[in-house]
Amino acid sequence: MLGLLLLLALALITISFRESESGPLHTAQASVASALQPLTVAVERVVRPFRDAYDWTEGLFSARADVAALRAENEELRQLLIQNESALQRNVELTRLLEYVESPRFPSDFTFVAASVTSQPSSAFEQAIVLPVGSNHSVELQAPVVTGEGLVGLVTRVEPNLSRVTLLTDAASAVSAIALRTGAAGIVEHGQTGDSLVLSRVSKADNVEVGDEIVTSGWRQGELASLYPPGIPIGRVTYASSLDTDLYQQIQIESDVDFSSLDSVLVLVRGEESASR
């Protein structure tokens, strides 16, 4: 029986393979297929819901894959957005620095070295930042460092291509300052908490009020002169009181500079060409 079936199958293959499309076997095949077509169509209609169900399920799997791909793309775009926002923020900061440099408030006998901050204060005990500019870029020891918002600190260590800036919020910092409105003189120092600053040694006779702007005094006495040029903004008075038991007024000031997130600063350089890094 098997041999007969195999012979028959081989004969069908041979004839089907050799004869033309219009040959009798092809015609017979097409006729039978046509005759069975209604049945096939009927079965196809019956099974279509099952096939649709399968397609729907398969679609779910591909949808999951699509979701994963879209999530990855979304993450990539989010990273890009963050980079763009960061660049925009940096652009705003640099523009602000440029406006400050071009404004009348910028010290007349100084030029600047612009630098991005490479190291932020590592702890509450280290109120200092590191800049990628040094003596090779004309940065000198004890050069004032500013931003468009005001005074940042003083260069306390200089290497050929690095410099360390001690911030105004460091306990060791002290800046001679005056209230811009009345000329009341004092010393800006680190306050009791966090980034707070105080204006100390202001006589009770001097008039200082909340909201007064405090700037560097930039004094000069013979050969001695302040490290800071005059007129650099330091902050605004947020609290002022005068107790009978105190020798001086108690004045708290708040700087416009955000010492916790410094990105770009200007190192003031006496009478030299400006550079940036």
């Binding site: 029986m1 098997l2 079936l5 195999l6 028959l8 199958a9 081989l10 004969a11 069908l12 293959i13 004839i15 089907s16 393979f17 076997l25 092809h26 095949q29 097409a30 039978v32 297929a33 069975l36 049945l39 096939t40 079965v43 196809e44 099974v47 099952f50 096939r51 399968y54 398969e58």
Partner: protein, 173 residues
């Protein structure tokens, strides 16, 4: 329903479903071969001759419905039905793993033979696609569908009882 009619019905329905439904169920590059599974079920339950005839008939019908080279599938499935039937009649008799083993061996053999025949008549078929990707996925699907299909075959074709089998051998000569 007589055995022949039941086998004919099973094979006919399986062929129609294979052509209209299961051939389009592409899972990981493979498709389940329900006609082959029915054929294995018939062959294991009824023997090699019935398996070969059912395979030939189902294959021929599939060739007609799909307008493929006439006789190609018929030849492959006739051999598959005969082989599965012979296994069922001899070493596979009353063994629980016989259907699973049959599905694995016959599926691989059908893929190899089909590839060989298509190669002989000059049709370009990717060996990697036919013998690796499609075969592995198809084998998995056949094993998955095998259980329900064999259960259906057992329900339609009642297995022989011990007493119904040939108990005497007539010596010739």
């Amino acid at each position: 329903m007589s055995d022949v009619a039941a086998i004919g019905f099973l094979v006919f329905v399986a062929t129609l479903l294979q052509a209209t439904l299961f051939a389009s169920l592409d899972v990981l590059g493979g498709t389940p071969d329900v006609l082959l599974l029915v054929l294995i079920g018939v062959a294991l339950l009824r023997g090699s001759v019935q398996g070969a005839v059912a395979g030939f008939g189902g294959g021929l019908l599939l060739d007609v419905l799909t307008l493929d080279t006439l006789g190609m599938t018929a030849l492959v499935l006739a051999l598959a039905g005969y082989g599965a039937g012979r296994y069922g009649e001899t070493t596979g008799r009353a063994r629980a793993h016989a259907p699973v083993l049959s599905v694995v061996v016959v599926t691989v053999a059908v893929a190899l033979l089909g590839f060989f025949l298509h190669f002989l008549i000059g049709e370009e078929v990717s060996a990697r696609r036919a013998l690796v990707e499609s075969l592995l996925a198809g084998l998995g699907l056949n094993l998955l569908f095998g259980g329900p299909v064999f259960a259906l075959c057992r329900a339609v074709l009642r297995p022989f009882q011990p007493g119904e089998r040939v108990t005497e051998v007539r010596l010739l000569g």
